[in-house]
Symmetry: C2
Subunit: 134 residues, 2 copies
Amino acid sequence: MATRMTRQRQLVLDAVRARCDHPSADDIYLDVRQKDPRISRGTIYRNLMILVEQGAIVHVRVPAADRYDLRLDFHCHMFCTGCGAVEDAPIPYQQEWDERAAAGTGYAVTRHRTIFEGLCPACLAKAAESAPTN
Amino acid sequence: MATRMTRQRQLVLDAVRARCDHPSADDIYLDVRQKDPRISRGTIYRNLMILVEQGAIVHVRVPAADRYDLRLDFHCHMFCTGCGAVEDAPIPYQQEWDERAAAGTGYAVTRHRTIFEGLCPACLAKAAESAPTN
DNA sequence: ATGGGTGCAAAGTGTTTGCAAGTAT
DNA sequence: ATACTTGCAAACACTTTGCACCCAT
């Protein structure tokens, strides 16, 4: 199962790398569409899956939809419950937790995923506007 | 919007509480079906959503599907990438991280969710069987 | 009594897949 | 040349919703 670098796959990879906001499959579809109006959603999904398997990009799961990330190292994410924005968190990945969790459960722990939830600064400002601090 | 405790809602709540394996909506549907063969999936979804809003149960998002949890305090989860099992992790919830993430990003952080991924003991044993250590 | 809740079935999302034709290697 | 990929559309799994009837308060 040798894998080929097709024009479409390259476009998908480029599109993920061109964004820093952890796009969803459909974001990628819309971006790639601009460069190749004939590409199909099936191709986007297939290629995202293949690129994740190959380790070229990473899969981030947040409430609402799957997102993709160009950063390959383990790291935590912020998720805005207001607008759905996703960004990297300024919190170090705690590898020793994987060992502790493994020791405590008997699991062969590969990694952990941490997502912080809350309102991003923009949504906070919007909330303050509509419901001012009386 | 006063909320009523109907027979169906009680059945859904009981079903979540009766399980310790973090059931999916469909698991609950199948369980409740045994006690009330006329309940519909729509009712299950509606009630799970309402119970989560009310804070009676908690929503856990893992790769594959949404799960529900009777434990209301913040805690981490283990997810088996082999069989999809979910269980509580023996790792303390680090509240100070929420503050650190908030300080570093300007988010109003509510909480974080951490999921450890790996193979559970049962899947590990199965894997060892089919691919013995030569 | 009355407005929230229910069952049912249809409609949505987001994602996957079968197939014949196209193309990277 | 060969078998991996593609576009398309149909199929899927999971979840939400519109509607008329029902029942907890």
